[in-house]
């Protein structure tokens, strides 16, 4: 075991995957000489050379579109999008091309492509750097959407992503890059997609979260424990594929559920969680499932963003209300 932060875990995993399989390559804006604007790819250029760690021009569609071609030629591209907020210019290449290639070719062109991108707010960035856009990609069948919350999961899920023959959008919590640290196994530890993780056991209510919202949920659970409310925190880890069984069991166990996410409320992935719970755990519910999300507005300026993204206090209030109801 080593104690690493998110970035260190990602960096070490990329290094190990490049060493493990020479088909793996890293590409993106500023990933080489600079080591990435957040240093996620620090040192990789020196170690693996410019054929395998490639500084790309400023063109997101080119990065993703070229990854499709690279994969078709037999390579395993792990591309970095500097911010998920800048993925829109590549959205066509992601949703309409990358995600569908296996389907269109009837399995002849698998797409072992990983797109890594930091996302989410809370760090006072200027416009369009903070949006939690994960739900926009969930409706691209063929694409896995992965949202680790801890360094150990970042490693395990990234290993699985790189080794998968399907394309993966790997969303990294910008806010947790340096702040979230944890024990990471030194050995190989791929985590299968579609397996949620009980981040904390509890009996009275289940908070469902992913990515940076997991830590918000855990802090809320600490506060609520002092009031005698026992909270289970379920980290979905991957939105696509969704661990429906794990979700339904976790909610059925407590009979109450609050979903937390940073994206705007309407048609956020929380809506899918609620629908899944409704399908599978309705008769176990003692209260309506609540959602704590951002409002349906554009991401606001940095100085007021803390009241836009879900806070510990808002989650605590929602849990209290859910416990009181029914």
């Amino acid at each position: 075991m080593s104690t690493l932060n998110m970035l260190q875990a990602i960096n070490a995993t990329l290094r190990a995957e490049l060493a493990r399989d020479e088909r793996v390559m890293v590409l993106g804006q500023d990933v080489g000489r600079l080591g990435g604007v957040f240093r996620a790819t620090d040192g990789l250029l020196d170690e693996f050379g410019a054929d395998r760690v490639v500084d790309m021009p400023l063109a997101e569609a080119a990065i993703v579109g070229a990854s499709i071609g690279l994969a078709a030629s037999g390579l395993v591209p792990v591309a970095e999008l500097q911010f998920l907020g800048f993925s829109h210019q590549a959205f066509h290449q992601i949703g309409a091309q990358l995600a569908r290639m296996r389907y269109r070719s009837q399995g002849r062109f698998p797409m072992p492509v990983v797109l890594r991108a930091p996302f989410g707010g809370g760090v006072r960035t200027p416009e369009l750097h903070s949006e939690a856009l994960e739900a926009q990609f969930v409706q691209s069948p063929g694409l896995a959407v992965v949202t680790p919350a801890t360094p150990a999961d970042a490693k395990g899920l990234l290993q699985t992503a790189v080794r998968s023959s399907d394309p993966v959008l790997f969303c990294e919590p910008l806010r947790g890059y340096r702040l979230v640290t944890g024990e990471v196994p030194d050995e190989d530890c791929p985590i299968p997609f579609g397996r949620s993780r009980v981040a904390r056991e509890g009996d009275d209510v289940t908070i469902v979260a992913w990515s940076a919202a997991v830590q918000v949920a855990e802090k809320a659970a600490d506060v609520l424990a002092e009031e005698g409310i026992s909270v289970m925190v379920l980290d979905l880890r991957t939105l696509v594929p969704l661990d429906e069984t794990g979700l339904i069991e976790a909610v059925a166990a407590t009979g109450r559920c609050v979903v937390v996410h940073e994206a705007p409320l309407s048609a956020g992935f929380g809506a899918e969680v609620v629908a899944t719970v409704n399908d599978g755990a309705f008769w176990s519910l003692e209260a309506p499932v609540a959602r704590v999300a951002a409002p349906d507005t554009p991401y606001p300026p940095g100085r007021i963003e803390d009241l836009f993204v879900p806070t510990v206090a808002r989650v605590v209030a929602a849990v209290r209300a859910t416990v009181k109801a029914g």
Binding site: L34, P57, L58, A62, T125, P126, L307, F308
Partner: protein, 358 residues
């Protein structure tokens, strides 16, 4: 491979005036002093903003250091009714357009997304995502063309932006319609860490030919040349001759933004080499040699810079966040009922804390 294009230069780095009849410019002593003043003031603003970011008063700052002449020259080429579409770094253009620096500071402080009025100032809001504004500028130019207005449009972009497909789209459409838009590219040699060699095998100015309109490379550290070239291009646009692509050859003397560490990807001697081509020093030398600027004038400009910096500092630190409920404003012309309900909930939630605090 294409050859290196001619560099339009009217003032050498040593401050010597170059005669160039095809890019003639005739400026009064007052106008020359005005240009110098703007260069000094925008640099002073930039220095102050960088310091304020270091002190935690701004979230981020993208410095214009080294690019003062490109921006002040381009800004002065605009006429009052013209419209400019900036990136996120055009503080010098904002200054010349009369935007209060505090509006730019409020953006990077995270108070708003730029508080100035584009219609009133002729400067659109800053655009973060590269190079969205080049298409907006093209559309705006097609619009004024249909109004028969004597308006020209100036689209700002960086060298890195030339790698994006949207710029090609903008240039193709601008050419097809002979739209009155000028693409003003500050080639500051880097897109964060990516050197220009990674973005283009040919000089950027040469790209314009493929789109069917003129491309000019101008010394971006020479305010006179930038002004002359940009003014001519805007005039041509206004007269119906269509777009021009201007490559202002310059250098980003500072970091990409205050979050960046350029020592990781460029050598100190390169920066030193460009320091000798400083845009302000050469104009000062020229003005002194011509007897246009004396010690009193230079001292007065310095003093004005200090006053400006102090005003910016005071104003920035005093800037409070807007009430959080304003995040619900101006999303739609009329707030849909579900959003109005979210707003009410938000207010009730905030009130519950005030209640609890009592």
């Amino acid at each position: 491979m294409s050859t290196v294009p001619e560099l339009v230069q009217l003032l050498t780095p040593e401050g010597q005036r170059v005669e160039d009849p095809t890019h003639a410019i005739d400026l009064s002593a007052d106008e020359l002093r005005g240009l110098y003043r703007d260069l000094v003031l925008v640099r002073r603003w930039d220095v102050e903003a960088t310091a304020l970011q270091r002190q935690g008063e701004l979230g981020l700052w993208p410095p214009l250091l080294g690019q003062e002449a490109a921006q002040v020259g381009a800004g002065h080429a605009l006429q009052p009714g013209d419209m400019a579409f900036p990136t996120y770094r055009e503080h010098g253009v904002a200054w010349v357009r009369g935007v209060d620096p505090l509006h730019v500071m409020s953006l990077y402080r995270g108070v708003d997304n730029g508080g100035w009025d584009p219609a009133e100032t002729g400067l659109n809001l800053y655009t973060i995502v590269i190079p969205a504004q080049t298409l907006h500028a093209t559309g705006y130019a097609m619009g004024v063309q249909r109004d028969g207005a004597e308006t020209a449009v100036l689209a700002f972009l960086g060298d890195g932006a030339t790698s994006q497909g949207e710029l090609s789209e903008a240039m193709i459409w601008a050419a097809s319609f002979s739209a009155p838009v000028v693409f003003f590219c500050q080639n500051n040699q880097y897109a964060i860490s990516a050197p220009i060699e990674r973005q283009s095998r040919v000089p950027l100015a040469h790209r314009a030919a493929g789109f069917g309109f003129p491309g000019v490379r101008v010394d971006g550290n020479d305010v006179l040349a930038v002004l002359a070239v940009t003014r001519a291009a805007l005039t041509a646009a206004r007269e119906g001759q269509g777009p021009t692509f201007i490559e202002a050859f310059t250098y980003r003397m500072g970091a990409h933004t205050t979050s960046d560490d350029p020592t990781r990807y460029r050598l100190a001697h390169e920066v030193e080499e460009w320091r000798r081509r400083d845009p302000i020093a050469r104009l000062r030398t020229h003005l002194e040699q011509e007897g246009i600027a004396d010690a009193d004038f230079l001292a007065a400009v310095e003093a004005e810079g200090e006053e400006l910096a102090a005003r910016i500092r005071r104003g920035t630190i005093a800037m409070q966040p807007r009430p959080a409920v304003t995040m619900f404003d101006a999303v739609y012309a009329e707030q849909p009922p579900p959003l109005a309900a979210q707003r009410d909930e938000f207010l009730a939630y905030q009130a519950s804390f005030e209640e609890a605090g009592r």
